[in-house]
């Protein structure tokens, strides 16, 4: 961001405030474009992954191997009638998708795209991300309440319980990385993973392999992160076989697309966070490798995590709402606590 401001000042925009404003605007546009493009790719990917898992081809007609399918869908969504139910709470109904999307969008302020490619390398970057992610729940509850539909209300209620519960294992397992690196700053977190076991770089430097507790924490994060992104097997807020479409039942057209975009952006966030905290961020798995740029490594790792989430979605049934709570409070949270204790002990004894 600083470079961007300096660049803008360099090309003749003298006013500091104006330059900063322009920089923020252009960065937001970039992130928005990124989310939109990523969603395009991810939705295509999801269709293809599900297609091949289910022994079919997936989209094949629009463009080469259905590459333009998502574009066609987007055009369809744009052309749809924007329906607001007569008895809905109009203002909240309109606000809900915006808030949900904004909460997701805000995360990108502190989310890295590669070495140095980060909007604001906050000294409490990870903390900021965890804090802002929880805002998503406001959007979903709002959507559930404002729709004036009982099914939507159920979706909103479930979502509140779910996100509040799963935030704890998410936070606690990310804390493992923080303990090991001794910082909340994203860049330092990643840089701390350049060397590790036996003083070696590459894959041996990554956090998840440093000690058994970090290894477990990685999987705890993966499960809890999937739950926070509302993906199957934890997609209870919208569970279509029970609640029709849950909190999003009454939405159509672009408003609905915002929820959709946020879901895919959330998947990406989970992927990047898992890579940054556990999988060495932009470091290559091969020591001393400089051939492939760091941002590509980060993207590859994040996409791998996204793929795992898709894989799970098309394989597992959905949990019931009480089982969801049990998974979080009886299993993931205690495991995460034990992990923290274990890592602390490990660092004292071997660190």
């Amino acid at each position: 961001m600083q470079q961007l401001i300096q660049f803008l000042q360099g090309i003749g925009i003298g006013n500091q405030v104006l330059a900063a404003g322009l920089a923020i605007l252009s960065y937001s546009l970039m992130v928005f474009t990124f989310i939109a493009v990523f969603a395009l790719i991810a939705i295509y990917l999801e269709r293809k992954v599900s297609g091949h898992i289910q022994d079919r081809l997936g989209p094949m007609r629009h463009g080469w191997h259905g590459l333009l399918q998502t574009v066609a869908d987007t055009i369809k969504l744009l052309g749809k009638e924007d329906i607001i139910p007569a008895n809905a709470d109009r203002r909240l109904f309109i606000m809900a998708p915006v808030i949900l999307f904004a909460a997701t969008f805000l995360v990108f302020v502190a989310l890295p795209f590669g070495p140095g490619a980060i909007a604001a390398d906050l000294n409490i970057g990870l903390f900021f991300i965890i804090a802002v992610t929880s805002l998503v729940v406001v959007g979903i509850i709002m959507a559930g309440y404002a729709s004036n539909n009982k099914w939507s209300l159920y979706g909103g209620m479930r979502s509140a319980a779910q996100i509040v519960s799963y935030e704890i294992p998410v936070g606690l397992s990310l804390l493992i990385g923080v303990m090991m690196a001794g910082t909340l700053n994203i860049s330092s977190l990643v840089n701390a993973q350049s060397t590790g076991l036996f003083g070696q770089g590459g894959i041996l430097g990554w956090n998840f392999i440093q000690n058994p507790f970090a290894f477990i924490a990685f999987f705890v994060y993966l499960v809890a992160g999937t739950a926070e992104a509302n993906r199957t097997p934890f997609d209870l807020p919208e569970s279509e076989s029970e609640l029709v479409a849950g909190a999003f039942t009454e939405y159509s057209g672009m408003r609905w697309a915002f929820f959709f975009l946020a879901e895919y952006a959330n998947m990406w966030i989970v992927g990047v966070l898992a890579s940054v905290v556990f999988l060495g961020g932009w470091h290559s798995p091969i020591p001393g490798d400089t051939l492939i740029p760091g941002s590509l490594w980060l993207a590859l790792k994040a996409l791998a995590i996204v793929f795992v989430q898709m894989w799970a979605r098309w394989t597992f049934p959905r949990l019931r709402v009480d089982q969801l709570m049990v998974t979080s409070w009886k299993y993931l949270t205690p495991i995460a606590f034990v992990n923290i204790f274990g890592v602390g002990l490990w660092l004292v004894l071997f660190g």
Partner: protein, 373 residues
């Protein structure tokens, strides 16, 4: 907080709902996620089958019969045809009997595949549905090859069949069985023993034996509760007594006897047994014979009434036919298994959660066409 005012919320599930398997409407009285009572409201798919039947000649009723249980038309046809044949007292050629059994059992597999797939959808997983339909498609191809129709066949006629099987059918049918039998293991690996699936279904919606019997449950739903009762064996009709197969009953391998998991698993195992029957029937199929040899020119049963029951994929399908000696029946009453099976839902799911209602409903394997008729 003693002053906190809570009240039940009445919520309407259906007639347009993804998991009510048609246009069933259920009034749920809920306390949060917990369902206190369920009241099914029927009639959204009522098509006056029984009234229509009074104004049609016997063979003309067949298309109406199969529209009742559209997932197992062959079985419905078979039940009706056998009932009328019994009323007429006619003998059926061997070859027809074998072909009827082959088609009825193939249709049973197809129907159970739909039940398996949609049950997966009900508990929130899409993939088994596609797998099930992949196999069902092959069965429908076999049907299409024989009689040209894929859903409503009008194939089993009173006294015979509409077409003989085409050339190459037997080989294709063997091919299908060879392909299908190993697939059952795939289903079990994918869904049956999945931890989340077991958590969702084991011990949920348990139907004890006495409840199952007193509510008049039949078919896989009854057998899942451990009642060893199958009309194909205990009251053999057609030529079912010639085959070597066993009646599947529920086990308590996951959860307790008669739970949702058992109702699901009985259907999986029954597909295996049906495949066995089809294989034996194909082996013994007589080569020669005209399938329309015994089709009567004029169907005018003698005066009298008769109740005939047969085993449909959903349970006991009964026809009560009253004849006054005319070409049209005086009355045709259909005992549809799904209606009786559905009646138990309030008894077993009160106190469970909304998600469980969906799961139990899916395991009861209802077809609304048959419930409303």
């Amino acid at each position: 907080m003693p002053d906190l005012r809570t009240e039940e919320m009445t919520i309407n599930m259906g007639p347009q709902h993804p998991s009510t398997h048609g246009v069933l409407r259920m009034k749920l009285r809920t306390d949060g996620e917990v369902v206190n009572s369920i009241e099914p409201v029927l009639g959204y798919l009522h098509r006056c089958f029984e009234k229509h039947a009074e104004n049609l000649e016997y063979p003309q009723i067949i298309p109406y019969v199969e529209r009742c249980d559209y997932l197992a038309s062959m079985n419905d046809d078979l039940g009706y045809a056998l009932a009328v044949e019994k009323l007429l007292g006619i003998e059926i050629p061997e070859r027809v009997e074998y072909l009827r059994v082959i088609f009825a059992e193939l249709n049973r597999i197809a129907s159970h595949l739909v039940a398996f797939g949609t049950f997966g959808l009900d508990v929130g997983v899409q993939t088994p549905f596609i797998y099930a339909f992949r196999e069902r498609e092959m069965i429908l191809d076999l049907f299409e090859m024989t009689c040209g129709a894929r859903l409503l066949y009008n194939y089993i006629w009173i006294g015979g069949l509409s077409h003989d099987i085409p050339e190459g059918f037997v080989e294709k049918c063997y091919d299908f069985l060879d392909y299908f039998e190993p697939r059952i293991k795939e289903y079990n690996d994918l869904l049956t023993t999945n931890k989340i699936f077991v958590e969702r279904t084991a011990d949920v919606g348990v139907i004890p034996q006495d409840v199952a019997i007193s509510y008049g449950l039949t078919g896989p739903q009854l057998r899942a509760s451990g009642v060893d009762w199958d009309l194909r064996r205990d009251e053999p009709y057609s030529i079912y007594d010639r085959f070597d197969w066993k009646v599947i009953t529920g086990t308590d391998s996951f959860g307790s006897l008669g739970d949702t998991w058992d109702r699901y698993y009985v259907k999986i195992l029954e597909m295996e047994e049906s495949a066995k029957i089809v294989r034996q029937a194909l082996d013994q199929l007589p080569v020669e014979g005209d399938v329309q040899e015994a089709v009567p020119r004029k169907i005018r049963p003698p005066e009298g009434a008769l109740y005939f029951r047969s085993e449909n994929p959903r349970g006991e399908l009964g026809f009560y036919i009253v004849s006054e000696g005319h070409p049209k029946p005086m009355r045709v009453k259909m005992r549809s298994p799904a209606l009786c099976n559905l009646s138990v839902i309030d008894e077993i799911t009160s106190g469970w959660m909304i998600a469980d209602v969906v799961a139990v409903l899916g395991s009861l394997d209802i077809v609304l066409g048959e419930i409303d008729r």
